[in-house]
């Protein structure tokens, strides 16, 4: 049964949180993915990694209790949970690149039917490119979840047969969470897992990736 309306950002975050296995080591990307942390039930044993060198990161620091030496990848003040550990950048990215993280959650401009990810650069001539750790996460985590709206403001789909924006990684995305549907990207193609406020037929009518 699909809900009768599109998911809010909060509901999308809750959906992603629900799919993260107990005890998993997880990196939440800058921006919307960060909100997934608010929906992880206590006692699941999920351990958050932040690329700037920490495991078992806690929630955002309370106002007045910020520590400038303790921030997340978005440079926001965060906290430390018991059992945390710190390590330097080469070790942190070895952990990412070496396939030790179970899940990372990233935002996206576009995702292709074969799991290509574009999330770092619009390619516009006057844009200043910035990649950060996105490429390392995209190819490093065992499962890559993307969170995004399904359609851009101009109505064009962001889940596409082939990305037109510069790529972040090739064939790396496993699941795409959107306001209108959740998609599994499988070797056999795009599979709609669930829809929200849209029928599968309507969805197929608006997405080239479901018509091939």
């Amino acid at each position: 049964m699909s809900p009768s309306r599109p998911l809010t950002k909060q509901k999308m975050a809750a959906l992603v949180a629900r799919d993260i296995p107990d005890g998993a080591f997880v990196n939440l990307g800058i921006g919307q993915p960060t909100s997934v942390a608010d929906h992880l039930a206590p006692g699941t044993g999920v351990v958050l990694h932040t690329e700037n060198g920490m495991l078992n990161m806690g929630p955002a620091a309370a106002v007045g209790e910020e520590d400038p030496d303790l921030t997340n990848a978005g440079k926001q003040p965060v906290t430390e949970l018991p059992g945390a550990s710190y390590f330097h950048h080469a070790d942190s990215f070895a952990m990412m690149r070496g396939g030790h993280l179970d899940v990372c959650v990233l935002g996206a401009f576009q995702v292709s039917a074969t799991g290509d990810l574009a999330n770092w650069h619009t390619g516009a001539p006057d844009a200043i490119p910035a990649v950060g750790g996105a490429m390392d996460l995209a190819i490093g985590a065992r499962s890559v979840f993307v969170m995004m709206t399904l359609f851009a403001k101009d109505g064009s789909p962001k889940l596409v047969p082939e990305c037109t924006y510069p790529l972040t990684g090739v064939g790396c995305v496993d699941v795409v969470y959107t306001d209108l549907a959740t998609f599994d990207l499988t070797p056999d193609g795009v599979v709609v897992r669930e829809t929200f406020g849209i029928t599968p037929a309507e969805l197929a009518g608006r997405l080239d990736v479901l018509r091939s």
Binding site: G53, K75, H89, F93, G132, M135, P166
Partner: protein
């Protein structure tokens, strides 16, 4: 006795940075940023610099101030664009500063390679993206890798928490970030620390940067 030299003010510790140097600057945002050392470098006057750092300056101080003075020929970084990176943004749009954009993990690993004597390494990050264009690739065990080369510095400016009188360093929380890697990758390593303790005052099991990597320590 130790080879590491200790300074009370930052100016003397960066006095010999030459024009045209490659300078590795620690920090991730402001955490671990060696602000006093960068200020001293601004006063010191070296120009035509290549600066390697995760970001390209925030606000109007630190690396941003160095950029604003026209002293940086090239930035090597992973994330120049931030809400407060207006100095870099302006110079870049005017074509007044060169940018080598490097995925963050490659930035760290390329400096680690420099420090570890590795000539080059096959890395899976960035394969099939514009940041790997023109670079050699190779398939190994069914996966494609791109060949990445070391990044070496003439000088590293890093921020740490404490030093002992041998030059051993410890860091604090996520301010550790690039400091330990940059300390291995530069000819001359200058650390600003909050405190210097006597030899024996750091736990040998918890030293993060051993004294062998630290040439100069400035207490700020």
């Amino acid at each position: 006795m130790s080879r590491t030299r200790f300074f009370d003010e930052a100016g003397a510790a960066v006095a010999d940075v030459a024009d045209g140097s490659t300078v590795l600057v620690g920090g991730f945002g402001m955490a671990g940023m060696p602000v006093a050392l960068i200020d001293a470098l601004i006063d010191q006057g070296a120009t035509d610099l290549t600066v390697v750092s995760n970001n390209a300056g925030n606000g109007d101080t630190g690396v941003a101030a160095l950029l604003a003075e026209g002293r940086v020929r090239k930035m090597v970084c992973s994330f120049p664009r931030q809400h407060d990176s207006w100095v870099f943004d302006g110079l870049y749009r005017e074509g007044k500063v060169e940018l080598e954009l490097v995925p963050q993990g490659n930035l760290a690993e390329r400096m680690r390679a420099a420090g570890a004597g590795i000539g080059a390494f096959f890395c899976p990050t960035g394969v099939g993206t514009p940041l790997a264009e023109g670079k050699e690739t190779r398939e190994i065990d069914g996966r494609t890798y791109v060949l990445e080369h070391p990044i070496r510095g003439d000088v590293a400016l890093i921020g740490a928490h404490r030093a002992d009188r041998m030059g051993n360093l410890v860091y604090r929380k996520t301010a550790r970030n690039f400091g330990p890697v940059m300390a291995t990758a530069a000819t001359t390593v200058v650390a600003q620390v909050g405190e210097v303790v006597e030899v024996g005052g750091l736990d040998p099991e918890a030293v993060v940067t051993p004294s062998i990597y630290v040439d100069r320590v400035v207490t700020v």
